[in-house]
């Protein structure tokens, strides 16, 4: 296939500085201490209880974050998508989107001031407050999108056939927003699993997660092989899930 020179700079730059690094990362993950080929780096992640604990702990935090943000965001997305209108809707959406422009680092410091004000200190609760705060808008958007797509007539029809509010929610709204729920949950789950800043600044002694482990293995521990194996697993998992989301809910997230 002929590729014109127009897109070559982009292809070369990304190949060199985005794709080649992952090849090196993959190579590193199969390297032993003496430079020989080995699977030990991957096996260490499963065998060594310290690593396994950190990985499971991060998954627990990510699942908790997902469940809490889902429960909090769902009613609000219903309100913004189906009840609010005109000026009110625009303002609410703008307010929900603005935090995306403020870096997680700065928002973590903001959460710290709140934590100290209510008499808490760094720890599990502080970290979870920070996680929910960070990921709430990310959960909100895909659910809001699928909520907006439910047609008025579907709700009217359910009403006509005698559905009460509870039936309406259980039989119509939740099933019809399922793609948004799945997309939002996977997005939050995967992003929060590698979160590094919030656990480091708010978690105190409870803040050692996959993100911190990657940081530690590379920047202070010098265990590049294990670090590379861990990073490879996370990356491959994410690509697979991203592919699944794109396949199943592509029209909703706009990917």
């Amino acid at each position: 296939m002929k590729i014109s020179t127009i897109i070559l700079p982009l292809i070369i730059f990304l190949a060199l500085f985005f794709y080649a690094p992952f090849i090196i990362l993959g190579y590193q993950s199969f390297q032993g201490l003496g430079g020989e080929f080995t699977l030990d780096n991957y096996l260490a992640l499963v065998r060594d209880p310290t690593y396994l604990h950190v990985i499971l702990y991060s998954i627990v935090i990510a699942v908790e974050t997902t469940v809490i943000t889902l429960l909090l965001a769902y009613p609000a997305s219903y309100y913004v998508a189906r009840i609010a209108s005109g000026q009110e809707k625009i303002i609410l959406l703008a307010l929900l989107l603005t935090p995306f422009w403020i870096d997680v680092l700065l928002r973590s410091i903001a959460i710290k001031t709140i934590i100290y004000t209510i008499g808490l200190r760094e720890g599990y609760t502080a970290m979870m407050i920070g996680m929910v705060y960070e990921y709430l808008p990310i959960m909100f958007l895909p659910i809001y999108a699928s909520m907006s797509r439910i047609s008025r007539s579907a709700i009217d029809a359910a009403r006509v056939f005698g559905a009460n509010t509870w039936d309406l929610i259980r039989r119509v709204i939740v099933p019809m927003t399922l793609p948004g729920i799945v997309a939002g949950s996977l997005l939050v789950l995967l992003m929060s699993m590698t979160e590094f800043v919030i656990p480091s600044l708010l978690g105190g002694t409870q803040g050692f997660t996959i993100g911190s482990l990657i940081y530690y293995l590379f920047l202070s521990g010098g265990l590049w092989g294990v670090g590379a194996a861990l990073t490879m697993i996370v990356t491959v998992m994410l690509m697979v899930f991203a592919f699944v989301i794109a396949k199943r809910a592509g029209d909703i997230t706009g990917w």
């Binding site: 990362l25 422009w101 403020i102």
Partner: protein, 261 residues
Amino acid sequence: MKLLRYYTYALIAMLYIPIIVMILYSFDNSKYFGEWNGFTLRWYEQLLHDTQAWSALKNSMVVAVLSAVISTAIAIPAALMARDREKDIVSLMIYPPVIIPEITEAVALMLLLIYLGFPLGLVSVLIGHTAFNIAYAYIALSPVGGAGARLAVAARTLGADRFTAFLKVTIPVSMPGIIAALGLTFMMSFTDFIKTLFTKGPGFDTLPILVWNRARRPGLTPYTSQPAIAALATTLILISITIALAYTLYEVRRSEKQGEL
């Protein structure tokens, strides 16, 4: 339904209360969060004489401006002139940088740079920022791509060569998209923390890195007292919000104009 409205308002208020409280504490004449000892401007005065902060600001600006210009320049030909088949290849290549978590990208790039023996500092940070910015520049440019390409074809049937058509037709027509791409990539780079952390090497600090270093070791010097960190973070938030607002207003006006066309 009233209840649902109050709930939504309360939830959105929760997103802003921490930021407002942090801004209040940046005027607090105390050393720690959680105790209020009266109003002071001393943390901001201190910031004015803070040579580390000024040099970090300079580094952030240099990296953000260069990265915005380079990534937009690389994305322009691909977004504005490529044929459909080529665009498919480009789309396939730019989505992973958007999806993959930053920390894994950062680690991978750091490994490559170390393997190559590339010195870590301004240039390595710039490379890292540009690698993800290309995707965002491409996305920001895409909406104007079609119009520019069609008009360029018209210009060529009227006798312009490919280069002239690009320079005199495609670029001017696509100016709004180019400005949007520059704004977005500047912003991404200016606020980036994780990619910078892994590719910076010792001695090269940007503003987010400075905030991180100080927030990790609070209370040791006047610069790392909690209200001083709040003042630094508030300043950064103000810069972010200002650029974001300018960008959003520009985008809104641009889409209104495109509606007219």
